[in-house]
Structure formats: structure tokens, C-alpha cells
């Protein structure tokens, strides 16, 4: 099975550790790389020195070379600054998806090619399946850990050069392999949060250093003032707390944000559903699909049936669907295979 050398992107977590081990076991010539993306504070994620140490020590244990690439300027330009700018526009961005789009599956992949690597591998939980129109991204075997949503931005042309060794495994199996091999990352907890936002200082402090935060009014559907927020840029669709609302009523949720006027509208649970979600961008991985598809709007969200109209830039839901925060990614599947994706608009 061995062909040319494979560059495996190692974050210092258990999944990419096992991915590297499996590639070696399959006879590949493997070199490990960790991207240094963020120079500031970090609780965990790809960027803390301790994670780079873990990646290096796992590579040492496996007997493969380990290198660190500093893509900090790219990360700042392509992920961090757009993240702040999107918040300033009242959007709810997903920086992990932008990191995948610009860093892992563009910048790093191009460098791998320049350095003579035929293929690149990562420890993501997703699969690459062969279809009549070429390789396509599909859900990982472990439904609870599936990462196809955050990987949907990978260009199908790139999939032919990509290996996702743990995509066909459950997380429990991945950990079992790591335990068997005695890898130091076997029981390492998962990173969940945005790597450049710390628990200690939080999103508000981070954004406050980068964009002006504006106080906003909170009104009900009749336009009556019912509360206030310190920073309109931190409010998201569906939010219930932190709106300065008086108690004693049924729960009210954010159903609309007007960043220009700094007004947040709240409404009852029923108002949190709609028949259509607008799109700011959309692309099919192949031919446009005119039938209803399975559409997912957050990393671990429950998919729902809807019809994507790329002309009208909208998703028409088969059943009324919870409102989607503008800026969130919208990913379409047929069965388990990603067929398209885009970003929700206003």
C-alpha cells in the first residue's frame, strides 16, 4: 500500500497521534508536522506549547520526524481578523471552519506538496468515499464525533490527496489503539473551544481588544424595549440569557439582530422557527441537487430535510426549522455524503 511520503498534521491530540501510528503501520513513509498558529494565550487547541510537545513526543515514540511550521501570520489574517470582523457585522462565525479552509487544507496542504509529499493526513473523524464523480467527503463512523461539518470546505479535488485514517473508527477504538501503543496522548481530554479564546478572559475581552463593542437595546416583537445588552457583537440568534430581561414571562429568545441600529429582537419559542434560511454563499461539491437534502447547521446539530436553492440563495425547510444565526455554516448531505455547503446570511 505504501506510495510516496505522507505528511501527517499532528495537533498533539489522540486522534492525530493514532492517525500517524496507523499510517506507519500501513507501511507509509510518514513525517509529522504541527502548525503553530496562535502566539497568544490559549487553554488548549493546536497552539499551546504543551500540545506541540505532545505531538513531538508521540512522533519520537513512533520513530518519525516532527517539524513545526509557523503559520501565525496566515492564521491572524485568514481566521482571527475575519472572526472579529464578522462579529462586528453581527454575524456568528465559525473560526474552526475558516482554519480548515485556509490553513489546514490550503496553506499546509500546499506546503506539503511543495516539500514533495504526495499526500497529507489528519486525525479528523470523517471519511473519504469513492463515488462515480470522484472522491467525496462523508460522515465519520462515530456519529458523536463526526467532523464532516467542519471539513465540508475541503475542495473535492483535494480529497484525492488526503487520508483520514481514523474516520472509519469510533473514538473509543481510537483511544484503545492509543492505549495499546502506549501513546502519551491516549487519555488526553478533547479540545472543544476556539483555541484563541481562553476560559479566563473569554470572548468579550478578546473581541473588546479588537473591535468596538456597542451597547444595544433589546425589544420584543412589538418594538417595545424589554432589556439591554452590553455588546451587540456578542449576541447570537437563539440566545436566552444575558439580555437584561425581567423574569415572570415565558422564555424569550433572540430572533433577530440589527447590528446597524444595535437592536436585538426577542420573541417566544414559536418565533424561533422559520421556513426559509437565507444563504450568503453556497457551493455544491458536484452537480446541483434539486431534491430535498439533509441539512446540518452546527457542528453537532441534528440535520433536517430542506431544499437548497442556489439561485435564490436559500434553504427551504420541509418542516419549520429553528432560525440559523447568520455566519453559521450550512452543510448539505445525501445519506452520509457531503454534497454542498455555504454560510447562512441575513
Amino acid at each position: 500500500m505504501a506510495t510516496g511520503p505522507v505528511m501527517v498534521a499532528m495537533s498533539g491530540g489522540v486522534d492525530s497521534s493514532v492517525a500517524a501510528a496507523l499510517l506507519l503501520d500501513a507501511g507509509h513513509d510518514v513525517v509529522a508536522v504541527t502548525m503553530k498558529l496562535w502566539g497568544g494565550e490559549s487553554d488548549t487547541g493546536c497552539c499551546a506549547v504543551s500540545d506541540v510537545d505532545d505531538a513531538r513526543r508521540v512522533a519520537d515514540q513512533l520513530g518519525i520526524e516532527h517539524h513545526v511550521f509557523n503559520f501565525g501570520e496566515d492564521f491572524e489574517r485568514d481566521v482571527v481578523r475575519p472572526y472579529a470582523a464578522d462579529h462586528a457585522r453581527g454575524l456568528t462565525p465559525n473560526p474552526c471552519i475558516e482554519c480548515n479552509r485556509h490553513l489546514k487544507f490550503d496553506r499546509l496542504l500546499n506546503r506539503a506538496e511543495a516539500l514533495g509529499f504526495d499526500r497529507m493526513a489528519t486525525g479528523h473523524h470523517a471519511r473519504i468515499v469513492d463515488t462515480p464523480v470522484g472522491p467525496r467527503l462523508a460522515r465519520g463512523a462515530d456519529p458523536a464525533k463526526d467532523q464532516s461539518y467542519v471539513l465540508h470546505v475541503i475542495d473535492p479535488a483535494v480529497l484525492a490527496r488526503l487520508i483520514l485514517p481514523v474516520g472509519a473508527m469510533t473514538k473509543a477504538d481510537v483511544r484503545a489503539v492509543a492505549v495499546d501503543l502506549g501513546l502519551r496522548t491516549a487519555s488526553k481530554p478533547e479540545s472543544q473551544d476556539v483555541c484563541f479564546i481562553t476560559n479566563q478572559h473569554g470572548r468579550e475581552a478578546f473581541l473588546g481588544d479588537r473591535i468596538p463593542l456597542r451597547a444595544g437595546r433589546v425589544v420584543d416583537t412589538d418594538g417595545i424595549d424589554v432589556g439591554s445588552v452590553n455588546a451587540i457583537e456578542l449576541v447570537t440568534i437563539g440566545q436566552r440569557k444575558g439580555l437584561g430581561l425581567a423574569g415572570g414571562t415565558d422564555p424569550r429568545y433572540v430572533i433577530d439582530i440589527d447590528p446597524d441600529e444595535a437592536v436585538v429582537t426577542v420573541g417566544p419559542r414559536e418565533a424561533l422557527a422559520g421556513e426559509v434560511t437565507k444563504l450568503e454563499s453556497w457551493s455544491w461539491t458536484g452537480e446541483p441537487v434539486t431534491a430535498a437534502v439533509s441539512v446540518q447547521c452546527s457542528a453537532h446539530g441534528v440535520p433536517a430535510s430542506g431544499l437548497v436553492d442556489a439561485e435564490a440563495m436559500s434553504v427551504r425547510w420541509t418542516e419549520p426549522h429553528r432560525l440559523i444565526a447568520p455566519g453559521q455554516s450550512v452543510v448539505a448531505y445525501i445519506d452520509d455524503v457531503v454534497v454542498g455547503g455555504g454560510i447562512a446570511g441575513r
Binding site: K36, V49, R56, F69, N70, A114
Partner: protein, 371 residues
């Protein structure tokens, strides 16, 4: 380690395990070995043996100079923007001031004068003898003259860590109150170094304890390290003239070969005035247009060529060069920086190999958008 230093270390580490501050015979023997090493280093630098204080290396020596001066005398520290981080960080963290480099990589005397005129509270000025990235040699007597004129009370420190291999420091030592040197840059053991403290200068020590090194640096002295360090200094000084002449020819062949092979890409660093006379013989620093150093280093490493770019952070990633930035090298050129170091063990065959591997790697990366 060079053989002279390694042999000396093995011999001394077997013989001198005793604490040289003790009073028994073994201790006195160790003390003699330590003081012989001190004499030898003093002779090579052009100072008195009592002025040599052994440290754990250049970083400790630099920290001691800057922080010791500030702690003892108050005021602020001034250094060039191209200093090693072991000087730059103590200066910047204490609220000190920096002045820039000229395009040829040397510290700007006019910039130094301007900074010294901003305040009358400067307690120490630090300017390195030879830049560790570019190899540019600073005009130390001229810079010392500027300090004497504009801040006569200030102490003068030079980080000469990079210089011992290439320059005779005896001619400049008299201008400076403090001089940092290290063993591993001249084939001595890593973890050895010294701060030269001229004329009975007393500074608050960084490390307090048993009063060793005349109270200037506590901790049981590393006798074997000092002996091997001194052996490296002796061997370096004895061969320096011939080494420099031979290595300079190799270095120029390397740079000229790279320019000839890659005329569009190679920018010879610090050669703004067309001359390499002020660049020490052992450093070939170039920038490669359109190529990212990090990717180039990867390809060179795979071919067995150990080069470097600027400096590495604690995670091992390459960081942009503050030295090139201070010289005014544009950012897009500086990302392609490549430093090739030559030393006494470098050979003609090494140069031939580098000239085979580097242009091929640069060509490859250029085809892929720089890497």
C-alpha cells in the same frame, strides 16, 4: 566540541570532582585548575584574571550585565535593536530604549547618540560585537566613543559571544566595562561562559548563595566546564588567523556560488555597500526572494544540510527576524532568510554540497509558490 576541549573536559571531570572552594588537597587542585582556566581566558580577552566571572553561558552573562547594572545603579538600559534576545528582553522588559541598525547590519552611531540624548538616566548601554544572525561586526570603538560623549556615566557592555572565533577582542576590551563570552560558540561545552567585569566593577549578582566567584556568581563552580572552555579558547586563538583566512575563502565561494546559481533570488544580507569586509568569515547570510525559509530549511534538512533562518520559538517554529526588520529588510524578503554558518571543521566539500542542494531546493519551492 572540538577535540582539545573534549579531551580537557574528560581529563578534568575525572580529576576534579572536589568543590574548588574547599580546603583539602583535592579542593586545592580543583581550585588551581579553575584559576588556570581563568588566567588563560583573561589572556585571550585582554583583561585581568580577577575580572573573569564564570557563568552558565552567554545568556546568563548578558542578563547579569543588564539586570545587574539596573539593580545596582537604577536608571534605564539602552541597546541596539539587533541584539540577541538575552540582551533585548532584559532591556525591553525593564522599560529600556533601543536604537536601530544601518542597512549593512551594524549598529547606528547616530541612532545611539539620539537615544542617549533623550534621557540623562542611562545606566548601561549594550552593543554586541558581532551580530549572531548576519555576522555584521559593529564599530565598537566608535560606539564606545558615542557613549562616552553622550552618557559618560553609563556602563558599557558588549555581548561578544559570536566574536571570539573571529576577532581579537584584546584591542576593544579596554573600551568596555562588561563583556559576555560563551564556550559553545568556539567548540567548548554548552553551558559554559563568562562575564568579564572590568576594573573592580561590582553589580548585584543574579544568583546569591555561597559567595563563589568573589560573591559575583554563587554556586559550586563547574571546574571541568571551565577547563574545557579555556581549552577551546586557547585552540581558537592559536588557530584563529589561519582559520579566518581559510573560512573566509570558503564563505565567499559559497555566497558567490549561490548568487551565480540563483541570480534572481539571492539578496546578500548586510552587503548594502557592496562589501563583506565587516561580516565575520564564518557567516553566510542571504535572503531568497519568493521562498519561505521554513520550507527551505525542511528540504535542506532532508539533504543533511543544517542551516537556520532567524530564531525559533519555544515550540520550535520559526519566528520573523527582529535583526532584519531593524536593518530595514522588507518583510517579504526577510521571510526567505537563510543563515549558513561555517567553522573550523568546514571543508571545501561542504561548500560544493551546499551549492548542489540549495539551488535545487530553491528552484523546487519557486515552482510551488515559495512553499
Amino acid at each position: 566540541m572540538r577535540p582539545e576541549a573534549r579531551d580537557a573536559w574528560i581529563e578534568a571531570s575525572g580529576r576534579h570532582h572536589a568543590n574548588p572552594t574547599g580546603s583539602h588537597k583535592a579542593a586545592r587542585d580543583a581550585r588551581r585548575a579553575l584559576d588556570d582556566a581563568r588566567d588563560l581566558i583573561a589572556g585571550a580577552i585582554g583583561c585581568l584574571p580577577s575580572e573573569v566571572v564564570f557563568t552558565s553561558g552567554g545568556s546568563e552573562a548578558d542578563n547579569f550585565a543588564v539586570r545587574g547594572a539596573l539593580s545596582t545603579r537604577g536608571g534605564i538600559a539602552v541597546c541596539s535593536a539587533g541584539e540577541h534576545h538575552a540582551v533585548l528582553e532584559p532591556v525591553e522588559h525593564s522599560g529600556g530604549l533601543t536604537f536601530g541598525l544601518l542597512p549593512d547590519g551594524t549598529a547606528d552611531p547616530a541612532g545611539l547618540a539620539a537615544v542617549l540624548d533623550q534621557t540623562d538616566d542611562v545606566s548601561i548601554v549594550s552593543v554586541m560585537a558581532v551580530n549572531n544572525e548576519t555576522g555584521a561586526t559593529n564599530p565598537l570603538p566608535e560606539l564606545a566613543g558615542v557613549v562616552r560623549e553622550h552618557a559618560p556615566e553609563a556602563l558599557l557592555h558588549t555581548d561578544a559571544v559570536q566574536a571570539v572565533q573571529w576577532l581579537d577582542l584584546r584591542s576593544v576590551a579596554s573600551d568596555f566595562d562588561l563583556i559576555s563570552i560563551t564556550g559553545h560558540k568556539i567548540g567548548g561545552p554548552v553551558g559554559t561562559g563568562a562575564i568579564i567585569m572590568r576594573g573592580g566593577l561590582e553589580l548585584d549578582p543574579l544568583i546569591l548563595g555561597g559567595g563563589q566567584e568573589r560573591g559575583r556568581r554563587a554556586g559550586t563552580p563547574d571546574v571541568a566546564g571551565a577547563v574545557a572552555f579555556a581549552a577551546a579558547v586557547a585552540a581558537t586563538v592559536a588557530n584563529r588567523e589561519s582559520d579566518v583566512a581559510r573560512i573566509r575563502i570558503l564563505r565567499d565561494r559559497l555566497i558567490d556560488g549561490l548568487v551565480a546559481a540563483l541570480p534572481e533570488q539571492v539578496v546578500v544580507t548586510a552587503a548594502a555597500n557592496g562589501s563583506r569586509d565587516h561580516i565575520v568569515a564564518g557567516i553566510a547570510h542571504i535572503c531568497l526572494r519568493g521562498v519561505e525559509a521554513e520550507a527551505l530549511l525542511f528540504l535542506l534538512d532532508a539533504e543533511g544540510i543544517r542551516a537556520s533562518a532567524a530564531s525559533s520559538c519555544s515550540a520550535g517554529a520559526q519566528e520573523p527576524s527582529h535583526v532584519l526588520a531593524s536593518m530595514g529588510v522588507p518583510r517579504d524578503v526577510a521571510v526567505g532568510s537563510l543563515r549558513l554558518s561555517l567553522g573550523p571543521s568546514s571543508t571545501e566539500a561542504d561548500v560544493v554540497e551546499a551549492l548542489r542542494v540549495i539551488p535545487a531546493a530553491v528552484d523546487r519551492l519557486s515552482r510551488f509558490g515559495g512553499g
